[in-house]
């Protein structure tokens, strides 16, 4: 392993569920995932001197006080919504390689089913996104109130400009569900779905059907990041963070007036991440893509550069993004079929794949994987990971 590199040395997850809910506070939920991650890494909480909580879901001080992190010296939150965990990975990597911290803990988790529902997050707390005031003053009064509606208008433009079809969006939902059948932790494990089921599912915000939308679940996940040097002393197989990058769409606080509607934060971040890693999208064995809605998967596949813009519809069809396909995507089932853990479970799954511990859903010979995050009005983040 190269000197000066950072790696993920611990992952932890709680159970994911809908009814009847986790039965614990969001903080406790995340603390349990943290405890798991630290146990996985084989370090005691006292070693943790950096914590990067998810925006609006707890403060580093609370985590440190509960866990017993006596030496906290790096506390930071990246305000990019669902792009935050992957963006934090980049910051945590910088922190451990630059000596700002030795071990950085990244928790995320919530009672997304039994507490405030995903669908309500923006209307319940406008400050939760950078464009909150825009939404309040110029979107919500016109019934344009929630993310599936905001993104549906982008999906419609893509369909209009490139002929993307409902069946192609459906192929994404079906692939995620197929993967979830191989993941006992997935909420949708045991509930298979066909493209016909998809096409029959009720419209939510045309062109989005119910089955285009992520789950709302309770659950938490956490990862531990440290330097390659420290990782050598631990009894785990480290997963290297080859590079990370993040970016914002323009303008980031308003969706509708973007000159290029499909250019998101990832459009800026992805080329940077690949360049830093010295790799190209062709080198990637699998991708964990933040799948809040089906079209956002397609859009990110295009913007990362797995295919050209406008070709995403074909790319996601024909099993190409399923296990055994060209680019297996979200082998755990993703937000669509595993659970909505704010993108953190995309990182834990990528780690499992690169450790070779993904069981029945293991991507054969997985060496290099990509994880993306998507947040707010299209903030983007990406990390290139390797075994």
């Amino acid at each position: 392993m190269a000197e000066g590199q950072a790696c993920i040395v611990g992952i932890g997850e709680t159970a994911f569920c809908r009814k009847p809910g986790s039965g614990m506070s969001q903080l406790e939920l995340q603390l349990r995932a943290c405890t798991e991650a630290l146990r996985d890494a084989g370090i005691s909480p006292a070693f943790v001197d950096g914590i990067m909580p998810f925006p609006n879901l707890g403060r580093a001080e609370e985590f440190a006080s509960n866990l017993g992190c006596e030496n906290l010296r790096f506390a930071s939150t990246i305000h990019m919504g669902g792009a935050a965990p992957v963006a934090s990975l980049q910051s945590a990597a910088a922190a451990v390689t630059e000596g700002l911290a030795n071990y950085v803990l990244l928790p995320a988790g919530w009672n997304g089913y039994s507490g405030a529902r995903v669908r309500q997050t923006v209307t319940a707390d406008l400050a939760s996104i950078p464009g909150g005031a825009t939404a309040r003053d110029y979107y919500i009064p016109f019934g344009f109130t929630a993310p599936p509606q905001w993104y549906a208008v982008i999906a419609r433009r893509h369909m209009h400009e490139f002929g993307t079809t409902a069946e192609q969006l459906g192929a994404i939902a079906v692939a995620m569900r197929k993967h979830a059948q191989l993941n006992p932790a997935a909420v949708m494990c045991g509930k298979p779905m066909t493209i016909d089921d998809y096409m029959r599912s009720p419209m939510l915000a045309d062109p989005y059907r119910i089955l285009d939308c992520c789950l709302e679940t309770d659950g938490a996940a956490a990862v531990v990041v440290t330097s390659a040097e420290r990782a050598r002393d631990l009894d785990v197989e480290p997963v290297r963070i080859l590079s990370g990058a993040s970016g914002q769409p323009y303008p980031a606080d308003e969706i509708t007036n973007r000159k290029d509607l499909f250019r998101t934060g990832l459009s800026i971040a992805a080329p940077e991440a690949f360049e830093k890693a010295g790799l190209t999208p062709e080198d990637v064995d699998f991708a964990m893509i933040y799948d809040c809605f089906t079209f956002e998967v397609l859009q990110q596949i295009e913007e990362v550069g797995f295919c050209k813009r406008g070709e995403g519809g074909d790319f996601v069809s024909g099993g190409r993004i399923e296990l055994g396909g060209e680019l297996p995507v979200n082998t755990h089932g993703g937000l669509l079929s595993e659970a909505h853990v704010l993108g953190m479970s995309h990182i834990t799954e990528a780690v499992r794949q690169l450790r070779g511990t993904a069981g029945r859903r293991q991507v054969e010979g997985a060496e290099i994987g990509v994880v993306t995050g998507w947040g707010d009005f299209g903030d983007g983040s990406i990390a290139v990971l390797a075994r």
């Binding site: 110029y138 109130t145 419209m203 939510l204 915000a205 509708t256």
Partner: protein, 596 residues
Amino acid sequence: MAEFHKADVEKLIDGVLPWPAVQDMMKSAKDLDRFDKYVEILQERVPWDERILLPLTPQLFIVAGDGARVVKCRCGHEFGDYRVNWKLSALIYVRDDEESLSEVYKGREMPDPTWVQVREYICPGCGAQLEVEAVPRGCPPDFDFLPDLDTFYREWLGRPLRDSVPYEDLTPALVATWAQPDYAKPVPELEGFTKDFYDFCRKGELRFQRCSECGTWRHIPREMCAECGSFEWEWEPSTGRGTVFSWTVVERPLHPDFSGDTPYAAVIVEMDEGVRLVSEVPDCDPDDLRIGMPVEVFFDAVSHKITLPKFRPRAAVGRTGGPVDRAGGPRTPMRARRTLELPDTIRYEVSDRVAVVTVDRPDALNSLTKDMLTALDAVFADFNADDDIWVAVLTAAGERAFCTGMDLKEAIPLLTSGDELGYEDHTKRQFSDVFKPIIGAVNGHCIAGGMEMLVGTDIRIAAEHATFGLGEVRWGLVPAGGSHIRVPRQIPWAVAMELLLTGDPIDAQRAYEIGLVNRVVPSEDLMPTALDMAARICRNGPLAVRTSKQIAVRALGLEQGFVLEKALAAKVFASEDAKEGPEAFKEKRPPEFRGR
């Protein structure tokens, strides 16, 4: 003239001036500066600096605040404009049962709570009891004292106050806003640029920011131009036209306030200027939406404060758009007033400060049902309350009739059974509270209740074929909607009596000769003439116009007459003749009256 020292006045205020001195003071002429001394003392005693204009009670004062005259408590708490009954903003403790009344009244002194309630008005700032009133249950808070401050300062003190305000009880206007149904959906927060944007919408203008340096349009509003870095910009008017850029059809609401609307479409409109905004195209079936579809803005006044810009398909504008000004091309499109729930038979559209109210039931000769009457009242209350509308034109659909009165099928049973058709307040009649000008545009027969409505208007334009009459007596009834009071004051006595007693109609030319209408014009010129008249009034100061009408109307003092009319007419409606008349009308035979 007697002079009293400030110290004496101070003792007077405190109630410690010896009785002989008080008598002396009462007997002699009032010293000229008594008021000033009095106020000076009060001013010294309050803990704030605003100038006291008039004491209301030992605890309350009218003071000159920031650009307004407000009622202020000694403690500093403000109750708002002095022309609104301050009690409406006080805390109120109500004693309306024996237990609570017995705390202040002993034994037989206690009023009967069946009839009386005692209200204590408490200052929310300091908890002081400001006023107590014992009134019949349900009686509105008594507005004890509304001083005519400007007149007092001008004529009694000889030094007019700056920034005079109309002497007007604004309490009813406040209460009227309470009666308005609340708009239950989320609204923008009117601050900064957002307030500017939506304030323009209130005025019927869609404007976007445009950089003064490089000319780039932008939306949403921002401090500076991202293209050239300039901080200089203007709110420039948009053409109001654009095309559908994208949309989503919301089938399942994710916000509870929109749950009643599904399916509805949230639409992104790309304007001619290049900016895009989120809006709705409510008149278009979501299935008919297409990318590139031309749309045009209209303004939906969802509440007193908020008007939302919405869109309709552009092709549809010609079909449903407003009237065309023959002289000057298309007028600003009329916007329907959607805050009010109106029956299809009453239309209420506003453009360029003019409301056009149309009775739209031509198949029934524009006769009025009780619902329509209620709707007309609601429309004119809205008109009266909206500062942005200055004149109303009242007309009707079709060419045959302006209005032939109440729908007899519905109204006669109601009237003869004592229903007051919503006019429970006998001092009021149609439009008697409306002090903004109403122009009647009479497009045909104006008979019975139609005539009663017309004499509640101010300026009247008639089509050449219009007729006018009060035929009620022919059917053993009387026109109790105010005609007995209004008509003899508007035209000569003898002509008025001819109309009231014979029940015979007159033609438009005669109506013009007797001064019942201002103009007689060919049918096709009716609305242009009425709208032109409205536009001419709109050139004038709205406050002056409104006050002018108010003085003229209130000086007539019609209320007593209205009460008398109601009382005497009730006897007629209860008579046998009042049953015989309408029956004969229905059976198309001459009635047989018996005089009882």
